[in-house]
Amino acid sequence: MAGVTGGNDFQWCFSQVKGAIDEDVAEADIISTVEFNYSGDLLATGDKGGRVVIFQHEQESKNRPHLRGEYNVYSTFQSHEPEFDYLKSLEIEEKINKIRWLPQQNAAHFLLSTNDKTIKLWKISERDKRAEGYNLKDEDGRLRDPFRITSLRVPVLMPMDLMVEASPRRIFANAHTYHINSISVNSDHETYLSADDLRINLWHLEITDRSFNIVDIKPANMEELTEVITAAECHPHQCNVFVYSSSKGTIRLCDMRAAALCDRHSKFFEEPEDPSSRSFFSEIISSISDVKFSHSGRYMMTRDYLSVKVWDLNMENRPVETYQVHEYLRSKLCSLYENDCIFDKFECCWNGSDSAIMTGSYNNFFRMFDRNTRRDITLEASRESSKPRATLKPRKVSTGGKRKKDEISVDSLDFNKKILHTAWHPKDNVIAVAATNNLYIFQDKIN
C-alpha cells in the first residue's frame, strides 16, 4: 500500500457523495460518526438527529466496470430519541456519539450505537422470504374457522421484496453520569467498554442490568478535578488490555488481569512538553481527542488539536512518529480559542495495513500520512471536484510570506467546515469522510 499519500503510482478519486446539497444545513443532519464494519461491506453513519444510516457496498456492475461498486443505502433507523432527565432537569440529546460494529457471526449484522447516556445494541437483518399456507390462519393473518379446516398443508416459503429490519436487541442504560465519549467492542466478542468523562464501564453484550466500573477518576472533591477521560479503546487482540486518553495529553494502558478496578495503570504514555512552545493554550491543544490501536495491536495513534502521534506500546516516554496536521494554526490559537474551535474533537483512523493514517482538519480538508515514505497529503472534500472518477487535487495552505499559486492562505480557511470523522475501509483503499451533513466516499484510482 505504498504511496497512499499521492505517490506517482497512486491517486485518490471521487466516488460518491451522500446527503443534501442545500446550503442551509439542518442541525439534525450533521454527521456525528462514521464506521465501516469488519468486512468493509457496510458503512454506518450516525447523526445529531439520532439516526443511523447504513450503506452497503454493491458489487461492480458490468456496464460501469471502472467503478469498484458503490455504497447505497441499506437501512435507516432512528437509534436514539431526545429525552429529558426529570430528576436532573437535563435534556439528553439524541446525537449519536459513536457506532461500533460487532464481528459478524451469522447472516445478521449487529452494531452498538450510543448517545451521551444510553448504549443500544441493534440487529440488522434481511428478510426476502415469507411463509405462506399456514393451517390456522389465512393469508391476511386472520384465524381461520377451525371447522373449515379439513386438511393439513405444509407452509411454504415464498420470495418477497428484500426487507432490511433494524431491531433494538439490548439497551444499556443508567450506567453513565457523564457524557459517553467512546464505546469499544472487546476482542473476546463478548464484552465491550464504554467511557464517559470520568469513568469507564465494562459490559457483557448480553447483560444490560449490570456493568463493571473499571476506571473511575472522579475525585471525592470535584474541586480537585483537573483531568477528564477523552477516549478509550480495547486492544484488538488482547482482551485484558485497554487504553484511555486524557485531557492532559496522556494515555494510560490498563491490564484488567492486574485488578478488577484499573484505577492504577500499567503503562503511562506521555511526551514531555516543549517549554519553548508553551502558551496559555498548551494544555487545551494537548488534550487528546481520539485514540486508536493499529490493526496489528503494536501501535496506537492519538490525535490532539494540532498533531497526530503514533506510539509504540513498548515505549512510553515519547511517540515514535509525530505528524503535524495543521501547524499553521498555531499562530491562530487565540481566535480559535475565542470561537471555541480549539475544543473541536478530531478523530483519526488507520488504513487496513497500518501503513497510513488519516485525520481531518478545517475548510473541509483532510490529511493523510504515509508512515513508510513519511509523505503527507492534504485533500479536500468538496462538491466542486465531485465528478465521477475525478482525481483529487492535493491542496496546500500557504504557511508564510508569499502565497504561491493554488495555495490557500490561512486567513481564508473556513472554520465552520470541519472534518471531524473519517473512516478507512479495513481492506481496500476506500475512505469515508464526513463533512458536516455530507458523506464523501473516495477510492484509489484504478488505471
Binding site: L87, K88, M222, E223, F280, I284, C334, E338
Partner: protein, 252 residues
Amino acid sequence: MLGRGVKRKWSSLEGSEAEQLPDAAATEDKRLDAALEDSEEEDRGDRRSRTDAGHLQQRQLVLSLCLKKLQHYQAGVELSLRRSVLLINTLRQIQEEMQSDGTDVQLGGVSRDARLLRDDFREDESVTCPGCTEGDAESPSPPPSPEPTNTTPTDLHKPLPNVVGHTFSDAGSAMGYLSDLALDDIFEDIDTSMYESSELPSAWAAGSLWPVSVSFWPNDDDVKLCSSAGSLQSCLLDLNELDHIMEILVKS
C-alpha cells in the same frame, strides 16, 4: 522592550474597546491574534519576560474570554465537562503565573472588591473593573432599563477602557476574583449543578432563591446565573438529597 508594534496595539486596543460593538468581533479576532503573534515574536527575540506588554495583554484577553466562556457555559448552553475542565485549568495557569509574577502583591485594595463579588458575582465588572463593581454593589439597584439589556458577549469588554490604563490592578482584580471565589464556585457549578444533581435553571426560575440578582439586575439574563454561593449551596444540597433518595428507591 516595547516594540513599535506593541505600542500601536495598545492604542488601537484603547480605541476599539471604548466603543466595543457586537459586530466588532472580527476586528477583535484580528487583534487577538495580533496580540498572540506579538508575544510570540517577543518569544523569538530575547527570552520573554512575563511583564511584556503583549504577554500581559494576551493574558488579560485569555482570562476574560475564559471567564466569559465559563459563565456562558453555566447557562447550560453547552454541557461539556472536558471543555470546562480545560477552561478552568487555563484559569489556574493564569492564576499561578500571576502569583509567580507577584502581580497579586498589588491586590491590596482590590481583594475587597473580590469580596463584594462573592455576594453578587457580577460577571463583567467583576473580571475587569473593580471600580464599577464597587459602585454597583453600593447603590442597591441601578434603574432597571425598560428594554432588554444587550448581553452580547462583547459586553464583557466594555469596562476595558478603564483597564487599559491599569493592567496591573486589573489583573489583580481578576486574581482576587479567582483566589477568593471563582474557582470554588465554578467547580460547584460543574460538579453538582450540571451533572450530579441538576442543571438548575429550573431552580433559578423560582426567583425567590435569588433575591440579590433579581433585584439588582432584573434585565440582565446572565446575572441570574451568577448567584450567591450560599443559596446555590442550599439548593444543591436539596437536589443532592433528592438524588440520593431516588437512588435508594431505584435500587431497592
